[in-house]
Amino acid sequence: MAFITVTSPHTTQTGNHTGAFMRQVLYATVPGLAVLTWLFGFGTLINLLWAIPVALASEALVLKARGRDVRFFLADYSAVVTAVLLALAIPPTAPWWLTLVGVSFSIVVAKQIYGGLGMNPFNPAMVGYVLLLISFPVEMTRWIAPHEAPSLMESVQLFLGSTSADAFTGATPLDTFRTWAGDAEKLASQAILNGKLAGQGWDWVNLAFLVGGLYLVWRKIITWHIPVGVLAGLALTATPFWLYDPVRYGTPVFHLFSGAAMLGAFFIATDPVSAATSRLGRLIYGFLIGVLVWVIRSHGGYPDAMAFAVLLMNLSAPMIDYYTQPRTYGHKAAHRGASR
């Protein structure tokens, strides 16, 4: 008689595996994707559909080269999630090669070279994004003015690089505010800054990602600590400066609903692999991302800052973890740093 002999526990939570986690993340991006398409045309969707096969192919190639079981590792959807997050962050005007470079770099260099899923110290999507931002600043900052979305045909042409994007591009609210900060009159006259909540159109994008993010929290795919940390860090830093000089510094609400704030807080900073792990650590990690985002937005060289902030905090995550170890049951004090 041959019984299975294995260590306890003999049962595990059903429907709870890495692939399912990743699929939930994909579902949660749907509202954001829909709003982006509504406002800026089919560019993002085309990018996304292109990024997924690129990611899977790069992952499969490297896995094969590393002598791993390709089918087993592709089934965890992690490459797809990286591709989708990067595609959402790239402007809808991006040509095909931009996505190709960014996605393959994310997968090959930022993820697989470090040992694959679970081993990468940096968020792969953000490494790809930063590479593109530094190497191709023009292509990476050409956003479309809201509601002036190109048609499907035009989007395809943009994707193929057969038409110039200049006809469609316009400044984003963050760009605009940056340009006219300190000049009350000009600021008041910019239509794009006067959306329902914050900048026009972008408030909707952020709301949509907030909805998706709340779905993730509800499904227990992510815990609330990092998003709350990021948003609190951003808002709490923005508030006193805005109160001090409302012409030079944006309102907290403007910061929360502009750029990649919600996408970053719920989808990017929460990448568990590269984030801090303890509860307190996650709060600190998120909060500092929020602070960094505000600092770079207000004083840095780039209009948005989520990618830089996340990467910088990825660097600090091990240290945060080290100093935020919980107190084990039955012990008097937490084990804080005092190794050996």
């Binding site: 003999h10 679970g118 568990p272 008097k332 084990h335 190794s339």
Partner: protein, 807 residues
């Protein structure tokens, strides 16, 4: 502090806890799967064909068997006794015959076997005499604790810690809370649930006895809110008693001792400590019932309630089963066939262990048997990479960082794992349950914990080995120093003797000779070093002349020593000295030859030009050595001859000579014996390797065969030489005592027989009472006795002298 709310009037959903409860961190909510086994009342399992009782059913040292195969035992009779403070006795669960005391598969995840007592029941269920203590309130607590211990009661919840140990309080220790564990948080298990539904009075009676023993300020009974019927029954039974029934929310692992204590009292048991340190004692309700029965009826622990559940059972439910019943018997009883079972688990699905064979018996700690189909508990999927999601840390009731422990366990960084409090893990399995990457975390921790324990044991062993090694070294050094001191003393004494006699100072000469030769050796060494380092030819030449000079000097000194010896010592001494010197020369020559051969070989291997030259040099050396050997033989032959020339004039000396010869022979014989043993051993080894070679069909069989033959020949020769020596020794004895060994033996035997005959005569005489005759016989007997002793001793000495053993 009564159970204030009558259970009958309050639905469980609105049950008001009489005191606030706390919470513990982490925990999970796995599917309960308890309904399958609560549909039937507790049944009595049938008597199996045989009962297998492992000697370690409990935590602690295994018990010592008191019975052996063939013994008849009665129900409740003690068949094994506790071995040490943390150990328990075992009792026969029914009357019958002991079939065996031996190794059987037992309740252990390793599938290893361990000593068990096997009983074949006779079906009569004849009880041994029991001693109920109906007036237990008048008994001394220590006596009751002893009774509980003697009844073999182990914690029935799962760990099996001897209950009596937890009831032994230190002097002046005050127990604040007695916590009764009725939580049963693991899925599937309903043994405690059914026990509460059907036997709540017995539980309460047991708790009262625990209260009497521990005198706690409060008694808290914790029950999970998924057992409404049990709560009702318990509230009804506890009415008017001073205990609080506390309903706790369903959350795994609230039934863990530490978690339940935190849940009910808010106190944390310190790491590595026991609950009594925070004034809490925790017992399971099953244990309470067992204590009740042990005191009230004098019954030892011989049965328990076990849940039979899982898809493979057609009639799942709870059974009261005799300890030692094989699981197979229960599978048959409740309709679980082997084909349907995919996984057989002893204990719950979270912390139980899969057993390898259904012949494993039910023991004191077996609360559940899950016979799961392959669909119910499928094989675990492959492990995926950790994505650091942190779910494990969320659910860990010990507030550990399971992820860090996983990394460190995986890389066997045991030091780090311990820093992250690996040893505080209670192995509840919550982390592995929620892990989205299907990582068998608990197994990693168990492996690492095992490694830690092993490391500690190895360290202890290494420390002991070091200690012993150093002690031995010190002893050997001391012995060597003593030897040296003795040698020096001897030297001193002989020097004094020598200096008293006129003539040449032999010792001084010897020393001079030694000095000269060591100076020569040093010079040769320097020369060689210079040569290998490629120093300039002049220096080398200089060194060579120096060495030659020194050599001449050394030779001169040696000659002087020889002369002095020849002049000053007697003829016999010269002979002996010559032999010794020749021996030394032979030794030197042969070692020179060996060195030369080695050099030649090395040169041949290296393909040096001078290989043949070296070879011929070696041959010359060999010839020299042989010549010296021949000389030595001659000298040896002549030395005894010299002594033998004057046997009449110096009889004493000749006797001495003879005895020294005998000693020599004995030594030689010993050497030959060893040589024979060695040769024999080598031959055996060689033939074994030959056999192997033949079996494997190796191509060097011929060479091996030759080796074997050679070795056989060597062994035979050694044996022959040995035989010759033995014969010689025997002859010698004959020569010395005028009779051979056989005669000596015969004589000794005859003398002894005569003594025995006389002794018989003496006895006859005593009986007849003839005093005069008795005296005569006494004297005669004594004379005979002396004779016999002498004969025996002469035989012995002959044997000893010749170094023979009586074969």
């Amino acid at each position: 502090m009564n159970a204030r709310i009558p259970a009958t009037t309050v639905p469980v959903g609105q049950y008001q806890n009489p005191r606030p409860i706390h919470d513990f961190r982490g925990g999970i909510h796995p599917p309960q799967n308890k309904d399958q086994s609560t549909g039937r009342p507790i049944r009595r399992a049938p008597l199996p064909e045989q009962l297998v009782l492992p000697l370690n059913m409990h935590l602690g040292a295994p018990a010592k068997a008191l019975v052996s195969a063939g013994d008849r035992v009665l129900k409740g009779q003690k068949i094994a006794e506790g071995n040490g403070a943390v150990s328990l006795p075992i009792h026969a669960p029914t009357s019958g015959t002991v079939m065996a005391v031996g190794e059987r598969p037992i309740q252990h995840p390793s599938g290893l076997h361990a000593p068990c007592i096997v009983i074949a029941p006779d079906g009569e269920e004849t009880w041994t005499e029991l001693h109920p203590l109906t007036h237990w309130r008048e008994c001394a607590p220590s006596m009751l604790v002893a009774r509980i211990r003697e009844a073999g009661i182990a914690g029935m919840g799962g760990a099996g810690f001897p209950a009596a140990v937890k009831l032994n309080l230190r002097d002046g220790q005050q127990i604040e809370e007695l916590v009764i564990n009725a939580v049963e948080c693991e899925p599937y298990i309903t043994a405690d649930d059914m026990l509460m539904r059907e036997r709540a009075e017995q539980i309460i009676a047991g708790i009262e006895k625990l209260q009497f023993l521990l005198q706690p300020k409060a008694t808290l009974v914790g029950i999970e809110d998924n057992k409404p019927e049990a709560i009702k029954a318990m509230c009804a039974a506890a009415e008017g008693k001073s205990m609080d029934i506390l309903v706790v929310p369903t959350k795994y692992p609230s039934g863990g001792e530490k978690q339940l204590i935190e849940l009910l009292t808010g106190k944390e048991v310190p790491s590595g400590g026991i609950p009594a340190q925070v004034g809490v004692v925790c017992h399971n309700i099953g244990t309470a019932v067992a204590i009740h029965r042990a005191i009230e009826f004098g019954e030892p622990l011989i049965s328990r309630i076990t849940t039979l559940t899982g898809d493979a059972f057609t009639e799942p439910g709870n059974v009261e089963v005799l300890l030692g019943t094989p699981v197979q018997s229960l599978l048959d009883y409740a309709g679980a066939t082997a084909e349907r079972i995919g996984r057989l688990i002893m204990g719950g699905p979270m912390m139980g262990f899969a057993i390898h064979t259904p012949s494993v018996p039910i023991v004191k700690t077996t609360n559940c048997i899950i016979a799961a189909s392959a669909a119910e508990l499928p094989a675990p999927p492959p492990e995926q990479p950790c994505i650091r999601c942190g779910s494990c840390a969320e659910v860990c009731p010990a507030n550990l960082l399971p992820q860090q422990l996983y990394w460190y366990s995986k890389t066997e960084d045991l030091e780090r794992a311990q820093q992250y409090n690996l040893m505080d893990c209670i192995e509840c399995g919550a982390c592995a349950y929620v892990c989205p990457s299907n990582i068998p975390l608990v197994q990693y921790y168990r492996h690492a914990k095992g490694e830690v324990r092993q490391q500690v044991a190895e360290q202890q062993k290494a420390d002991k080995a070091r200690e012993r090694f150093e002690a031995r070294k010190a002893r050997l050094e001391k012995e060597a120093a003593e030897k040296e001191a003795r040698r020096k003393a001897r030297l001193e004494a002989s020097k004094q003797k020598k200096s008293a006699a006129p003539g040449v100072d032999l010792a001084a000469l010897k020393k001079a000779s030694l000095d000269a030769s060591s100076a020569y050796k040093a010079a040769v060494k320097a020369l060689k070093a210079a040569e290998t380092e490629g120093a300039d030819p002049d220096t080398v030449a200089q060194l060579r002349t120096d060495a030659d000079n020194l050599k001449a000097k050394a030779d001169g000194a040696k000659a002087a020593v020889r002369d002095a010896k020849a002049g000053g010592a007697s003829v016999a001494d010269t002979g002996a000295d010559k032999v010794a010197e020749l021996k030394k020369a032979v030794g030197e020559a042969s070692s020179a030859y060996k060195a030369a051969v080695k050099d030649a070989k090395a040169a041949e291997e290296a393909g040096a030009e001078n290989a043949s030259e070296l070879r011929s040099h070696a041959d010359t050396l060999k010839a020299k050595a042989d010549e010296l050997k021949a000389q030595l033989r001659d000298a040896k032959a002549s030395a005894p001859a010299t002594a033998a020339t004057a046997p009449a004039s110096k009889p004493e000396k000749s006797a001495e000579q003879a005895s020294s010869e005998a000693a020599d022979r004995a030594k030689k014989m010993k050497a030959l014996k060893t040589a024979f043993n060695m040769a024999n051993k080598q031959w055996k080894e060689a033939s074994a390797s030959l056999e192997r070679a033949e079996r494997d069909g190796a191509d060097d069989i011929d060479t091996l065969k030759k080796t074997v033959d050679k070795l056989r020949f060597k062994a035979d020769k050694a044996k022959e030489a040995l035989n010759v020596l033995v014969e010689e020794a025997k002859k010698n004895i004959e020569a010395a005592s005028g009779s051979d060994l056989k005669t000596l033996k015969l004589e000794a035997g005859r003398a002894e027989a005569a003594v025995r005959a006389k002794e018989k005569e003496l006895e006859d005489a005593k009986r007849s009472g003839d005093q005069e005759n008795i005296d005569v016989i006494y004297r005669e007997r004594d004379a005979l006795r002396r004779e016999a002793t002498m004969a025996a001793s002469s035989l012995q000495s002959a044997i000893d002298e010749q170094g023979l053993k009586e074969d």
